[in-house]
Symmetry: C2
Subunit: 167 residues, 2 copies
């Protein structure tokens, strides 16, 4: 069984908060957020093809990637990492090519729960209520949930390749 | 006489909006936002000493500067430029060292009003109502207003040095 994704879009303020626990150590979870060769294997919903233009998960670094659906339609995403602290914390901007100049900002905490488990907690802030509501209605929750399920599957595969206490 | 600064902090949402017209052409106003040697002469309230660590006003660039008050107390500010379009538009993150990891994001439009005049319009978004209210109560409006007054004084000085239609 997988861990549950908790998402909330509070009334009246342009935020989306979510959290997800993972049955893997914080260093492994962080590595899967930093290494483009791993990110490309889990970020986003199933059934999309992801291609990374660049992904520099460091303070001051930037990223750009494309998700292509089964219909061949491509979606570009890009942003900048304002802060990245290893195994701990990141703040990044986020822009979808379909809504140019509508840029959100997301902070993400990597919390070591002990026993080789991690909790991810994120707070995303949108420049308008319309932008927040549009994101919440876009299938974001399903995409996030599938992404984290894929992340756990990937980390399970990596653990099998290099046995450790992880799982 | 100087142009008026209009600031609003709308009820219930974590935004601050402001606008300011300037009696100078958009290219001059933009240049004063890009060139660190000019920024250091106007950004922030009167009576503070500004020192720039770095200020790279380009897409993907970053900045860091320090304001030091007459009491010798120093305040650091830093962030990243998500987007910069010449004479037109910029989006940047903003962090004050006094509130680490509380990062806001601000979009700014440079609008050519014709006749050598420009309107700056900005929309700043905070990660919580508390952060927005704290910023609004921090003397931000006075600091912004004095900064733009200083900007007009600076641009006036530059126009005298290189005569043009500007003023």
């Amino acid at each position: 069984m997988t861990n549950a994704l908790h998402v909330s879009a509070p009334e009246g303020v342009p935020f989306i908060d979510f959290s997800r626990e993972l049955d893997f150590p914080v260093a492994e979870v962080f590595r899967a957020h930093r290494d483009p060769e791993l990110i490309v294997q889990w970020l986003g919903p199933r059934g999309l093809k992801m291609e990374i233009d660049h992904y520099d998960f460091t303070t001051g670094g930037s990223y750009k990637y494309t998700h292509t659906g089964p219909d061949g339609v491509a979606y570009d995403f890009s942003g900048i990492f304002h802060t990245v602290r290893e195994n701990e914390f990141a703040i990044q901007t986020f822009e979808f090519s379909g809504y140019p100049d509508v840029v959100s900002i997301e902070s993400q905490t990597f919390e070591d729960l002990g026993d080789g488990r991690t909790r991810l907690t994120a707070h995303a802030v949108y420049p308008s209520m319309e932008a927040r509501d549009g994101m919440a209605a876009s299938g974001m929750e399903e995409g996030l949930g599938e992404g984290y399920d894929r992340l756990e599957e990937l980390l399970g595969t990596l653990s099998e390749k290099t046995p450790q206490e992880a799982s």
